[in-house]
Symmetry: C2
């Protein structure tokens, strides 16, 4: 795939701190607690410079009689410096951003704020392949993951659920693996929904290689993303580290088939730890591939879900705007250009896109109004009203009521 | 089956109040709120006499300007009196207690105290067919019910679960219907466990007729019981009324396959209303017969269970005594002759059977002891010790600890 001009332009704008973050993805493993802690108090460029100079970032020269915490930093510094010989220079890093590959860093408009809930475990940066807008995709997204050794039943259900969610305007996040992950991505692709594959290796050579065509399709319709830089291979532990990003990117996680020791349960644990809705699809109790799902329903309090409607009910306590299939593909385009905010930091009324602002203005000061009343009052077509209502509800401006929708009191 | 001499003796001892209660099972439908309320304040004989004399029991002669509540009683009296022509006399009622059929009334030693938790909805009396001891059977029992239109999967799982529970000394309560109920009864029978079929018709002509052999087997190894008198046929509403008894008799209820409108969900609701553990076995989300199970897991908080061990864990928070298969059949025999008590009213130490009393005496005053230590100290064989430990834990005398078992502080 040739790089679109707009993306070629973007790579040229990589600033000093972004270049430093990109370099850090080459030097440190994602989720390294020492680097995560440092990046909370130091600029990425400062950390990178210290590593290159064999200094303890934020502390200074190495010394023998160090404390326990600086000893850990000392060891970490050894690990990071061991990779210095393979570190590409700034020109090479910039050159890596080609063929649709780009870098997104915290505080960039393209950074999904949800990842910040990982705290010090937040990715240093993300490598993206594909054209979709990541924050927009995450706004209404579900992680659907499960066993690689899926049964026909599991693959069927994962595909159906992903397709149904896609038809209703939800993006599907998964891990690109064989089995359930692939079925979920394919279900989303069938309905032209956005789907995001989170890898544990470079986005230029996604694993498994047998999914090369699938990854190409995902990049064309959505995104292939990774914390690891181009050229990096996957490894067993990297999948576990990667799983926290799958859980953190979406509104909630659904496990479709997982054996007792499935890596999908690791993703489930991350979702639970983040306080995100955790759901599992049951299956025959005679199937080992459903044993993990049944256990997390019984022991972790995962919600038993059987279809897309169950999942949406869990994720949309205010009621789902129920975007029709035809509008599903347009959903991300309706978003304001501003970075979509989590409920904690909604945009002001002035920051809304024009349609949403008109719809919001059409609301009565007291009491509720039906969708068609609002459409007439706002002078906006019904499909657009539907999309705007979902957006406004997501931002907390409005809520469901007996008569339809009403303004939400602050 | 010829009546055993001991049961022929029992029928001769039917007292006046028992005869009156038997008569009331002919006159009123079970669960009649008017009769349930009356029996809380009047003797059964007094109620029966009033019905025969066309008087309002507990009030007196009918009068035109009655209150709303006595109007309801007035209507009920009409219903009861309409059945007077078909009421057998005392000699016929006594004669109905033959061929292994007997009557058990509240306050009888054979009455299962758990039914009293139904309050005014408590059965007036129970008709029993079979030799097992009902209170003993209920002490460690699970209701396993589900769809009549069971799939092969559901019938297989119900049978396996019932057999496994039976092997561990648990009795199986169900409704004798086609499908899941039959599979559960059969699973229990295979392991020589006690099983109880609760019918919505007379125990002399159990419904469905196609299960005549099954009911004969159940009566031989356990009990066929009913609130309806011999000769009464089943009807749709009677099944719903019957379901509260299935739920009330056992420690907890397991639903194995139930469509969205299955009567098994009615039993589930009764279990939940009684505060008894409610469990459901999941199945493929593509199967309509599992839709009800998934819904009550998601919406009612039913516990997702996949095997007998899951169920026992729900019902034995102190840990299961884990009675070996060989001892399973002996379990009821080890019970004291006194009526087994619910946890709310445990027997005193003096009321324990001799073996249990010796085992309890063998416990150290402080700290725990292993099962073999207790066996040596008590001079009782290991199998008997196992049974006694389960009983003593059930009554709250002892509890599990790291070292095995210990006395429980009051």
């Amino acid at each position: 795939m040739a790089a679109p001009p707009s993306q070629a332009g973007r790579t040229a704008r990589l600033g000093e701190q972004s270049l430093a973050r990109a370099a850090l993805t080459y030097l440190a493993e994602p989720g390294d607690p020492a680097l995560g802690a440092l990046l909370e108090i130091c600029e990425p460029g400062e950390v990178l410079a210290a590593i290159k100079a064999d200094m303890l970032p934020g502390i200074g020269p190495r010394c023998g009689d160090s404390t326990a915490s600086s000893k850990a930093l000392d060891r970490a510094l050894d690990h990071w410096r061991a990779r210095l010989p393979g570190l590409p220079d700034d020109a090479d890093i910039t050159a890596a951003c080609r063929d649709g590959i780009r870098l997104v860093c915290p505080q960039d408009p393209q950074w999904p704020e949800r990842l910040d809930e990982l705290g010090q475990g937040r990715p240093y940066a993300l490598w993206l392949r594909g054209r979709a807008d990541l924050p927009s995709a995450c706004l209404r997204s579900v992680s659907v993951v499960g066993s690689r050794a899926a049964t026909g039943y599991g693959a069927h259900v994962a595909g159906e659920i992903a397709a149904d969610l896609g038809e209703r305007g939800w993006a599907i996040v998964s891990g690109g693996a064989y089995g359930i992950d692939a079925a979920a991505h394919r279900g989303a692709l069938i309905t032209n929904a956005t789907t995001v594959a989170v890898l544990a290796c470079g986005v230029d050579h996604p694993y498994p290689a047998g999914h090369a065509d699938l990854f190409a399709d995902i990049a064309a319709a959505g995104l292939v993303i990774s914390e690891w830089p181009p050229g990096r291979h996957s490894a067993r532990l990297r999948f576990l580290v990667r799983n926290r990003v799958i859980a953190a990117l979406s509104c909630g996680t659904v496990i479709v088939e997982a054996g007792e020791r499935s890596g999908a349960l690791n993703t489930a644990r991350h979702a639970a730890n983040l306080g995100r809705p955790l759901m599992a699809v049951p299956g025959p109790v005679t199937s080992r591939q459903s044993a993990g799902c049944h256990r997390i329903i019984r022991e972790w309090g995962a919600t038993c879900v059987t279809c897309a409607a169950d999942i949406i009910e869990m994720l949309s306590p205010l009621g789902d705007p129920d975007i029709p299939a035809s509008a599903g593909g347009q959903w991300p385009m309706a978003l304001p250009t501003r970075r979509p905010a989590d409920p904690g930091s909604p945009p002001s009324r002035d920051e809304l896109d024009p349609d949403s602002a008109r719809v919001l203005d059409a609301f009565p000061a007291r009491g509720g109004a039906g969708q068609s009343t609002i459409a007439v009052e706002a002078g906006v077509d019904p499909d657009t009203v539907l999309r705007c209502l979902g957006l406004l509800a997501g931002y907390g401006f409005i809520e469901r009521c007996d008569r339809g929708w009403r303004l939400r009191r602050p």
